[in-house]
């Protein structure tokens, strides 16, 4: 049995070896499902007994017989390197002295509160009161909670039938909360928003899935995606059986988006018989961090209008802008400013409670605002939303708070602003510090993080390093990242997880460790890189 499995595993390794120099599978939709190297390492270390059913059998849920779309999709943010890190972390507990570092620092995922960022107090006060409404009847509550949080909790509870925060709500989310969100969108953009266009979801990701489900009927349906991209897009396109049509962001011009390149990719896809249905734009960008210039946004909107594409605008980092020369403008605002209304352009905007200065990843709150489509299509979206009944109520409440935070004059306003500004200015500072550190490394260039939460440096790997990677049957950037992890305890994600121009190597690192940890990270990274280059320099 074991020999059979080892031979199977060898087959996978040989296959993946042939594959790894090509672009990742999400960029070549015709490629065969590839069992990632992730499975391999976990497989050999697995302690659970292999049942007979893993051999060639007709059992429904074996690797040979599960949905190939599941096998095909990949998600590097929580992939192989994270598993290695977790094992190291376990081992570190027992063998502190065996490593040149005393903790693992997870810079692979935009998860601020796991790295010490505190939640916004006002938001949590309101959520706690809504969770346990009988607190509002206790006199002691007034000593423990701010006045405006109590007020807001009452307001919110009044909008929930029976004040029942434990009940399934309307499948688009509680109406009163959608009203608040729509008002928040209007205040932000200067153009009206309709609460009926809003679908509250468990984070922005399920909303993206819903749109992919709606748009993709087969591999003949394509979605234009930026490369590099946040791999939710490639994964969900694969899961829903569509084709990813890549357009490359230009690293040399700060990850700029050229309409001519969009057009080229669109036409090429069409010539291959692919019906391109939508364009994904992530603004501010992930992993690239660029904030689009308004003019660029206008060109994109016009392009979508001309080509009949749905514009899928991932705007979850709208509150994360760190440079004075750039500003966030929502695509809806840009479209409306151009005079495009409901009948002119189909636009879906995604927002989340996970990012910004609030960083509430674990709450799973978010929404999509869907405009420019007919009511029969809206009914279909509603129907899809209704199969899952509704998103979690606490997350819905938080989404409404994020879109209508304390205002001047509110009791909590000053402390809220202090918290918010503190977090954002610290992020800007950390982004700059890390960017400078990376740029000082030999063979490394790093565009500035204008927004979002990441740096995406490019490393010129010497040929020796590339060969060493090959010998270990690993992609060169993954090889670098693993070495980095083992030397410093810092976890980053190889660029191949996001897509990159073939032959270039990157990694994505978050800017989220607390300020006091940054110097140590910079030192360790600098030391590691020097010794890596010493080892592999041509």
């Amino acid at each position: 049995m074991r020999r059979f499995l080892i031979n199977q595993a060898k087959g996978l390794v040989d296959h993946s070896r042939r594959q790894h120099h090509k672009s990742p599978s999400f960029l070549s939709p015709q490629s065969r499902p590839l069992a990632s190297l992730v499975s391999l390492s976990r497989f050999f270390s697995s302690t659970s007994e292999m049942s007979a059913s893993d051999s060639t059998s007709s059992l429904p849920v074996t690797l040979d017989s599960i949905n190939p779309k599941v096998l095909k999709c990949e998600y590097a943010v929580r992939g192989e390197i994270v598993n290695i890190a977790q094992k190291l972390q376990e081992d570190l507990k027992a063998n502190k002295d065996a490593y040149p570092f005393d903790e693992i620092i997870y810079c692979n995922i935009g998860n601020p509160q796991s790295l010490g960022q505190l939640p916004i107090r006002f938001f949590r006060e309101v959520l706690a009161l809504c969770d346990h409404a009988s607190l509002l009847d206790e006199s002691e509550t007034h000593g423990l909670f701010s006045i405006d949080s109590i007020d807001r909790a009452w307001k919110i509870l009044d909008q929930i039938p029976g004040r029942a925060t434990g009940a399934y709500s309307h499948s688009q989310g509680i109406k009163g909360l959608r009203d608040v969100i729509a008002a928040g969108i209007e205040a932000r953009d200067g153009f009206p928003a309709d609460p009926n266009d809003i679908f509250l979801t468990d984070g922005a990701s399920p909303a993206v899935h819903m749109m992919m489900q709606l748009l993709l009927s087969s591999e003949k349906d394509g979605i234009l995606c930026p490369i590099p991209q946040y791999p939710l897009y490639s994964a969900s396109i694969a899961l829903h059986g569509g084709s990813l049509v890549p357009y490359y962001l230009d690293e040399a011009t700060g990850w700029g988006l050229e309409i001519s390149d969009l057009k080229k990719q669109l036409e090429e896809a069409r010539s291959k018989g692919i019906a391109v249905r939508a364009l994904v734009v992530i603004n501010p960008g992930n992993p690239t961090g660029q904030v689009l210039a308004e003019e660029n946004q206008r060109d994109i909107v016009n392009f979508c209008k001309q080509e009949g594409l749905v514009l899928l605008a991932d705007e979850v980092y709208q509150e994360n802008v760190y440079v004075p020369d750039k500003k966030f403008h929502s695509f809806k605002k840009v479209a409306r400013s151009l005079g495009y209304g409901e009948k002119d352009i189909s636009l879906v905007s995604f927002q989340s409670v996970s990012k910004g200065y609030y960083g509430e990843c674990g709450k799973r709150g978010g929404y999509m605002e869907v405009t420019g489509f007919t009511s029969d299509v809206r009914e279909q979206i509603y129907k899809m939303a209704s199969v899952n009944l509704c998103s979690n109520i606490s997350g819905q409440i938080l989404a409404s708070l994020v879109m209508s935070p304390p205002k001047p004059g509110d009791d909590s306003y000053d402390s809220y602003m202090a918290e918010r500004d503190g977090i954002l200015s610290s992020m800007a500072k950390r982004a700059k510090t890390l960017e400078d550190a990376l740029n000082s490394l030999e063979g490394v260039t790093c565009n500035r993080a204008e927004g979002a939460m990441y740096l995406f440096p490019r490393i010129s790997l010497p040929q020796k390093a590339i060969e060493a990677a090959e010998a270990e049957k690993t992609a060169p950037d993954a090889f670098y990242c693993k070495r980095l992890l083992n030397a410093t305890g810092v976890v980053v994600v190889p660029g191949s997880g996001f897509g990159q121009v073939p032959g270039t190597w990157h990694f994505r690192c978050t800017i989220l460790p607390q300020e006091d940890k940054i110097p140590a990270i910079v030192n360790r990274l600098t030391e590691f890189h020097k010794s890596f280059m010493d080892e592999f320099r041509n």
Partner: protein
Amino acid sequence: MEMSLKALDYESLNENVKNCQYAVRGELYLRASELQKEGKKIIFTNVGNPHALGQKPLTFPRQVVALCQAPFLLDDPNIGMIFPADAIARAKHYLSLTSGGLGAYSDSRGLPGVRKEVAEFIERRDGYPSDPELIFLTDGASKGVMQILNCVIRSQKDGILVPVPQYPLYSATISLLGGTLVPYYLEESENWGLDVNNLRQSVAQARSQGITVRAMVIINPGNPTGQCLSEANLREILRFCCDERLVLLGDEVYQQNIYQDERPFISSKKVLMDMRAPISKEVQLISFHTVSKGYWGECGQRGGYFEMTNIPPRTVEEIYKVASIALSPNVSAQIFMGLMVSPPKPGDISHDQFVRESKGILESLRRRARMMTDGFNSCKNVVCNFTEGAMYSFPQIKLPSKAIEAAKQAGKVPDVFYCLKLLEATGISTVPGSGFGQKEGVFHLRTTILPAEEEMPEIMDSFKKFNDEFMSQYGDNFGYSRM
């Protein structure tokens, strides 16, 4: 040509989306919502949503989660005045299991500490060990069902055995994923019993049409039917799945809702383990549970889990991979799940209150199950099996031919016609049986047993009055009498 159609034009939408139906929030519900906006009093009995009908949340879990939401409260010296010590301790416990509180993504499978508590609960319940690594927490059980079906369904050629009547999550999801639903009929006259011969017949028929049957769904206790499967029945089903190489999907979300004593809940996993090797090591089983039902009724939290039995490690990894794309289930709900599987113990400060609240809810549900069943059965043209478990009543309404004709004229399926009239006359919002599946020419409606106990008699009277009038209007010429 494609170019002239915009991407989100109705014609160019994914057909699977257009084909899927989910009646629980379909036509009747939408009409009820319209009427409510116009000012009519509506009693929503279309969905198992206890808190929406006045059931209060249990106090202890809400205290714990509120403290987890606002951990700065734990530092306040006065906190002991409004929160009991065990709630404070438990909040600290759960916060220590997270890596950054409620606001940080957890492990994509859920917090390891909570999964351990779930495993311990399963072990206590069944008497067999449970591995936390094979337990994944999800944003509600529905998400878990969708994830698993997504693994199993490769194409339209893949069939999933689903009971009829069924909870339409299954039909909708199979439709969305482009698979084929293979129905097996439950026997209404045998208390919605499951006959293995029906199963065999369904499978044979499907295979003759070129369908590969890959999985079987059981809902135990049943939804909408409420029946609790016997141990013997479960053994038959497991044997059947073994012989036919099917993965068994055990929807056990109503395991706390049992209203008779002859057939207590017994989990599919326990029965499988009791059957011993080789079958206990062969049958692939996925079991689902939730915080939405039972006596907790915390639907809005979106908390659930599934446990995998005999699933190969590499498959588990693929399921993990897909789970990781969604990053993590919401952390508040994970804490609710932890609290549900490890509630206050005897001796804990909050224990008595917890038991009082839980018992109160369960005993009332039992009474309401009886009231509703009896109320329906007192109508001449209505036959209603007793609600042995879950939260629903699924009476069969015998519709006279004049009514069926009138429905046809109105362009409606007969039970939809009946339910719309019921809604307009009484404000009672139900779900027509056609939303769950039923035998040809047989009509039902599903209502919940959740309206407040004090309101039950009035609701049943309201129904009877409407039914009398309906039967008078559409009944046979020799008149309708309830006698």
